[in-house]
């Protein structure tokens, strides 16, 4: 699950159990989309646990993932070169070659 290299392709999970009612920090519009690892930001405490006041848990690797706007929005009218970068934790990402779970 962890350890994506820079420039590798990743898919954002559509479902992250247990969701709901857990606190979810990955925007709705990006779930299921495929992007490329732009950089590894470091490792930080999990905001989806910190949201419940649970401080001091394991650190999770945070990636900056680059997506093409026209991949995200089917009716996108801007340039084909337009991109969006979103920072996402490793547990939200999967290998797009693998069967969708």
């Amino acid at each position: 699950m962890t350890g994506f290299a820079k420039d590798s392709l990743v898919r954002v999970k559509s479902h992250f159990p247990p969701s709901p009612p857990a606190h979810c920090r990955t925007p709705f519009y990006i779930r299921g989309c495929v992007g490329k690892i732009e950089r590894i930001c470091g490792a930080f405490e999990n905001p989806e646990e910190l949201a419940f006041g649970r401080v001091g848990g394991d650190k999770k690797v945070l990636y900056r993932v680059r997506f093409s706007q026209s991949d995200i929005w089917p009716d996108y009218e801007g340039s084909k070169n337009d991109q969006i970068d979103i920072e996402l934790y490793d547990f939200w990402l999967e290998n797009p070659e693998e069967e969708r779970k």
Binding site: S14, H15, P20, H23, G32, C33, A51, G53, I72
Partner: protein, 113 residues
Amino acid sequence: MNRDFTARGNHDMGGLEAGTIDKDEHDYALWEKRVDAMMMLLSNELSILTVDQLRKGIEALPPDAYDNMTYYERWMASITNTLLETGVITTEELGSKMREIKPDFFSGMDSLK
């Protein structure tokens, strides 16, 4: 693209029609600065709340409340609820302080008893 989603939260509005966005700069009211200062004290100085708890509390607001509250009203609602949940303050303490600051705050409600 086959995207199957868990439910979209009311706050999670990326990609939805937003209407006209007011981009004018504006000054903050004194109470707004105080709410911000209180959050900084509770998180950075006292470690009573995490900023993620603030965020969770904001997202837990009923959709109608979320849509109609201003930015710092949402902060205030979230901070208050979280401090009550975690036992830092009691409803009685909150109520008596509100009465002290604004004695007529509950006057309309008293008549409902």
